[in-house]
Amino acid sequence: MLQHTDEELVVLIQTDPSPARYQDELFRRHYDRVALWCLRYTGDRDAALDAAQEVFLRVQKGLRHFAGQAKFSTWLFTIARNYCFNELSRTRRQAEVSIDAPETAELANEPTMPVDEALSRAEQLQQAREWMTKLLSEEERQAYSLHYGEGIPISTVTRLLGLSNPSGAKAHLVSARRKLSEAVRRWKVGHETP
């Protein structure tokens, strides 16, 4: 069975009258990565176990519909990512605010860049991408995108990105904010009508 790819195992699970051993093998290959992902997302072993089980239950349920257009591992990632981002975020966000209250609130209440009146949405998008690409480091960009774009709590961003600096993603967010604020200020000066 070891010679089968993940995708071949999925086909066997879908077609073999005794699919249990194929599913055992397929799942066995991925327990570590789902466990680690859920551990990083939740930051708590018990919650991670619950989340990881939910992910595998969803995989079990969806296997019969898996058409093999993507790699199994990519599909599995999508399920784990979406479950954590969508299902767990709402409840965890509440808890997170109370932990990081002062600085999280400061970042959350930060005003958005006031360029919407001057630029079309496509232009705003292009401008935002340009600033983020040119001004921010890779980790600043990714922390910023996860926290502000996806609404992922700061401590979770720190774990997901594997940041080991003392203040984790918070430092990257503060630095990114400073750089973007300066870019917006300069942009406004350059576009002010006399």
Binding site: F77, M132, G162
Partner: protein, 233 residues
């Protein structure tokens, strides 16, 4: 100041995660994506998360927890196995013994208590678990829940049941000579709304030796509207 959140999220021109995965695997073959990905923080972040998921390299402080979690997942999702007989191919043993033992467990998970004034009339909704083939009510179906039931194992003299908390703490342990166990008030009291428990059962022969065991079945009970009961899905 910060860019509006909507500009930081996935945009219509962002490639699908499958396409990003192809790019991550072989940037040369998906070179046409490079300009977009190099300019898009969202796509870069997706690729980084995907890579970190696939690499699955726990840091030192994550090692023990990851191993323990993986081991718990394996215990809960691995199907019951037949004993391998010395000198024979593993599947020979499987084919001989499994008809008697493999189909063991048939229990539903994802119970949902209805709020009713009469506590003894609670009617749970079962959620099916794909591994289990029979005795599973359809999703959303309500049945009177008064016992755990599973498929009988012919050689079993007794069954040992366990309900555990998510951290592995045993909340209830019991035994039954038949393939069911009626719930007494104390056991029902463990099935609190929004609480997750794991149920498992082992079949024992006359000498007390385990001859078959179920997967660990996750049970979660959620309060439901009396008029429109919901399932967990």
């Amino acid at each position: 100041m910060k860019p509006p959140e909507t500009l930081l999220q996935r945009q219509p021109d962002c490639p699908s995660i499958d396409t990003l995965a192809s790019y991550a695997e072989s940037p040369q073959q998906a070179a046409s994506l490079r300009p977009h990905i190099e300019a898009c923080a969202n796509c870069q972040t997706e690729i980084r998360l995907l890579n970190s998921f696939l690499e699955a390299k726990p840091a030192e402080h994550e090692l023990a927890d990851t191993r323990q979690l993986a081991s718990q997942l394996q215990a809960r999702f691995t199907s019951p196995k037949a004993t391998t007989r010395a000198g024979g191919a593993w599947w020979t043993g499987w084919r001989i013994w499994v008809p008697a033992m493999s189909m063991l467990l048939v229990i539903a998970a994802g119970l949902q208590w209805q709020r009713q004034t009469d506590a003894t009339a609670n009617a749970p909704v079962y959620r099916d678990i794909p591994r289990i083939e029979v005795y599973i009510p359809r999703q959303g179906e309500q049945i009177a829940f008064s016992e755990f039931r599973w498929q009988a194992v012919p050689a079993a003299a007794n069954y040992s049941l366990t309900l555990t908390e998510v951290d592995g703490t045993v909340a209830f342990a019991g035994a039954s000579p038949t393939a069911s166990l009626s719930l007494d008030a104390k056991t029902k009291g463990l099935l609190l709304p929004r609480k997750t428990l794991h149920f498992s059962v082992e079949a024992l022969d006359g000498a007390g030796k385990t001859i078959a065991r179920s997967a660990s079945i996750r049970i979660r009970i959620e309060p439901a509207s009396p008029k429109a009961p919901k399932t967990n899905e």
